[in-house]
């Protein structure tokens, strides 16, 4: 009797916590919405955008991030079917791809810098590229922490419930930052 109530409570506690991640997704979207609105109003009033051809490496990093999302999806599916080893492997793939994404973003910034499109710029639209991609990278770091917590849970052999909970919040967050980057990248491509 006691144990059933406890179990009930655990799953009861997970639902609101998962919901918290969704709410965070909403508020983070709005923060980026603030920046892209700034960008649109700036462009409308000054009659110019960043006016650059974005570095090619951003296209590749977008691809890498997409693949990482797929591998995270596979990890979640592996966990559901009960094969922890497979989940672990896909989590590691996601983690490494996440790091690769970060490295490529740095390369992107370097090549922007080399073409003279620096952060401190009289064209605020160019500075904005650094701001949004920089803050997005901070989200990636947070996402990597989530992936790590799933990984640690996997090595510690936590109960299926806890493992699925960790995997779930990792998935929500990681897919969000994936979609977020695609939005930002397409936005910057369209509004040059």
């Amino acid at each position: 009797m006691v144990s059933t109530i406890q179990q009930e409570n655990i799953s009861l506690n997970f639902k609101p916590k998962k919901f918290l991640v969704w709410l965070f997704v909403v508020s983070s979207t709005i923060m980026f919405g603030g920046w892209t609105s700034y960008y649109l109003v700036f462009m409308a009033s000054k009659g110019k955008g960043h006016g650059l051809v974005l570095p090619e490496v951003f296209t590749y990093s977008t691809g890498v991030l997409l693949i990482s999302s797929i591998s995270l999806f596979l990890a979640a599916r592996a966990l559901k079917t009960g094969s922890r080893n497979k989940q672990r492997m896909f989590l590691w793939v996601t983690f490494i791809l996440g790091i690769a994404f970060g490295v490529m973003q740095f390369q992107g910034w370097t090549s922007l810098y080399q073409t003279g499109a620096v952060l401190v710029n009289n064209n605020a639209a160019i500075s904005m590229i650094y701001v949004v991609s920089g803050v997005h990278l901070l989200h990636i770091v947070a996402g990597l922490a989530f992936v790590l917590s799933s990984l640690i849970g996997s090595y510690k052999n936590v109960s299926q419930e806890v493992a699925e909970y960790r995997q779930d919040i990792t998935s929500i967050f990681w897919h969000f930052i994936d979609i977020l980057w695609i939005y930002l990248y397409v936005f910057l491509l369209l509004n040059s």
């Binding site: 406890q6 609101p16 923060m31 609105s37 000054k46 952060l119 009289n122 500075s127 904005m128």
Partner: protein
């Protein structure tokens, strides 16, 4: 059977690791929502006292611009050299007064206190969705307070560009003394504050949506919960925009970008920044800033709905209308921010749009006001201190709301913008009203927080002095504004046409001083009653909501046994046919057969049949 279930939950509570409570885990790093509510409240009260003292300081300057007060130099040193407040410090005073009141007192102090206290207690939950994040929210708030106050201890003084920190004063560190380190501290403090507020809001929304007790559907929630819920949603949707604005401001200040800056000249030096626009800051700021004023007032409105209904011994008039108007205010608040910017050279057509949306907000606000009055109408009113403050809120909300219709009008606003008319308007409608809502809440739920009652005589003294003085302070300011006296002016007497307002300013300052002294009655009452107040009974106001079914002595998990289930809405007061003039939400309809009404059963035919059978069997004897 009951002992078994009690044992189970008891065990369960301790399963979360709260078995060995030390002083630190109970009072300092507490994860219990009731303790966190008290922490928010007491921190909020301390910040309110500080902000009030700051306002007295700048009121002294406004009333006696040519007098010297050597005492001021004793306390303030070089900021009041020769006993007169310096211009830079004056600007810092108004800036920090506004910042503290809006963010630290009326956002964190109000929402933080009552969301934490009431959400789990009134919806029937053991605690918040994430007690740990809840604790984090408080500690972020405290750190933000300390950083903000620390700016009084730097040589160049606190931020002084106004609480709206418009660039370039906020973006160019050498613009004025307060733009330096003080401004940096302001920004750091505000980033931490926003984090605290967001963590809190996420928690409140998740708790309300996921952790209601059995039977507590959305339409059975008290209006306090509705108000706190919608406030939290407003916070989640608007604070992130402030973050995006502040991040760009930090880049402008510290890294030399030009998001908000262009064509700035210092003497002979031209700053390199080019191409930005300070108007864009205003857009980002007011997209938060306007919802922010509803974040301030909505919890107060929710609190007074509850208190007015309890103390009128009547159901709240138009419960659904109350909820829909809160939702209406929430939605509309996002499309009115432009009314703060009518004088920025905005396209008149756009100004017209913002004007219309702004004036539409008067509709839900008026619905609420009339519903309060209709609830009071022919009620069996108990003038408890909480009730007086709640009625005071209604009064301020009306008086301040009326001037909102003037200011929302673009053509009038061009004249009234940045005058004392604006100051008078918002101090009544969101300042005094929200403070009165907060005080009403404190008086009403003090027994729930501390298990003791506050002294009613001191409370009445506090109410009447504060109520009268608040009007004496803010009502005359309208006339200054109509005459064109601008706000935030250090030496308005330098302009001949404003000289005649000096006597009015003396009157206003004396009223403010008396109002400040009246708060001593509250502070003494509050802190004395925590330790020495009369012991509270379980349900001192005879209210229906769930929090009054918990024991007076706090315990982790709120209810000793199972969480009670809810059967009815929270406003069954003076129901015809009932034995008492209040029926707890936990009382099933089967126990109140004599007072049930057909619509109580929400179309449940079985229940209606049973009720009809009972009525047939218990027909009253015709005389």
């Amino acid at each position: 059977m009951s002992t078994i279930s009690l044992h189970d939950t008891h065990h369960d509570d301790h399963g979360h690791g709260h078995h060995h409570e030390t002083f630190l885990t109970k009072y300092v790093f507490s994860q219990d929502h009731k303790m966190i509510a008290k922490q928010f409240l007491i921190t909020g009260i301390i910040m309110a006292v500080i902000a009030m003292l700051l306002s007295i300081l700048f009121r002294i300057q406004l009333a006696w611009p040519d007098k010297t007060f050597p005492l001021l130099e004793t306390f303030l040193g070089k900021w009041a050299e020769g006993g007169r407040i310096k211009p830079d410090f004056f600007l810092a005073l108004v800036t920090i007064h506004g910042t503290i009141m809006v963010f630290f007192v009326l956002t964190a102090g109000l929402s933080g206190t009552f969301s934490n206290l009431l959400i789990p207690l009134q919806i029937g939950a053991r605690d918040m969705a994430s007690p740990f994040m809840n604790m984090l929210s408080y500690w972020f708030f405290l750190v933000a307070c300390i950083i903000m106050m620390s700016s009084f201890f730097v040589q160049t003084g606190p931020a002084s560009g106004g609480w709206t920190i418009y660039p370039p004063l906020s973006a160019v560190p050498k613009a004025m003394p307060g733009s330096g380190l003080g401004m940096t501290l302001w920004l750091v403090s505000m980033v931490i504050f926003v984090a605290s507020s967001l963590i809190g809001s996420l928690n409140y929304v998740s708790t309300i949506l996921n952790m209601r007790t059995k039977g507590m559907d959305l339409w059975k929630m008290p209006l306090t919960i509705w108000a706190l819920f919608l406030t939290a949603i407003l916070g989640i949707l608007s604070f992130p925009v402030l973050v995006s604005g502040v991040v760009l401001l930090i880049f402008d200040r510290s890294f030399g970008t030009s998001f908000y800056l262009s064509d700035i000249v210092f003497g002979t030096e031209i700053l390199p920044n080019e191409g930005g626009s300070p108007i864009l800051w205003q857009h980002l700021f007011w997209f938060l800033g306007h919802p922010e004023v509803y974040i301030v007032i909505m919890p107060a409105l929710g609190i007074s709905s509850e208190i007015i209904s309890v103390n009128s011994r009547k159901p709240i008039f138009g419960y659904h209308a109350m909820v829909y108007s809160l939702i209406g205010i929430t939605v509309l608040s996002f499309i009115v921010w432009g009314h703060h910017m009518f004088v920025t050279g905005m396209n008149p057509l756009l100004g017209g749009v913002f004007m219309i949306t702004t004036l539409i907000i008067a509709v839900p606000s008026a619905v609420k006001t009339f519903n309060y009055l209709a609830t009071l109408w022919r009620g069996n009113i108990r003038f408890t201190p909480a009730m007086l403050f709640a009625i005071g809120l209604v009064s301020f909300f009306i008086s301040g709301g009326l001037t909102g219709i003037f200011l929302g009008n673009a053509s009038l606003d061009i004249n009234l913008h940045d005058t004392y008319f604006v100051v008078a308007h918002f101090h009544l409608v969101m300042g005094s009203a929200a403070i009165f809502g907060m005080l009403a809440g404190v008086y009403h739920w003090f027994p729930k927080m501390f298990g003791r009652m506050m002294n009613p005589k001191l409370a009445y003294l506090h109410f009447w002095l504060t109520f009268i003085c608040a009007y004496l302070v803010f009502f005359p300011l309208h006339f200054l504004g109509l005459d064109g006296v601008p706000r935030r002016y250090y030496a308005f007497t330098e302009f001949e046409f404003m000289n005649k307002w000096l006597t009015v300013n003396v009157f206003v300052t004396w009223s403010a001083i008396i109002a400040a002294l009246a708060q001593v009655a509250f502070l003494f009452n509050f802190f004395y009653s925590i330790f020495r107040g009369k012991k509270a009974t379980q349900n001192p106001w005879e209210a229906n909501t769930l929090e009054w079914t918990t024991p007076v002595e706090h315990l982790h998990g709120n209810w000793p046994g199972e969480i009670p289930a809810v059967y009815r809405w929270p406003y069954d007061y003076s129901k015809p046919g009932a034995d008492q003039d209040f029926i707890l939400q936990t009382t099933p309809f089967s126990e109140t057969m004599s007072s049930n009404l057909p619509h109580d059963f929400e179309g449940n035919e079985e229940a209606e049949r049973i009720q009809k059978e009972w009525e047939a069997a218990n027909k009253p004897v015709q005389e």
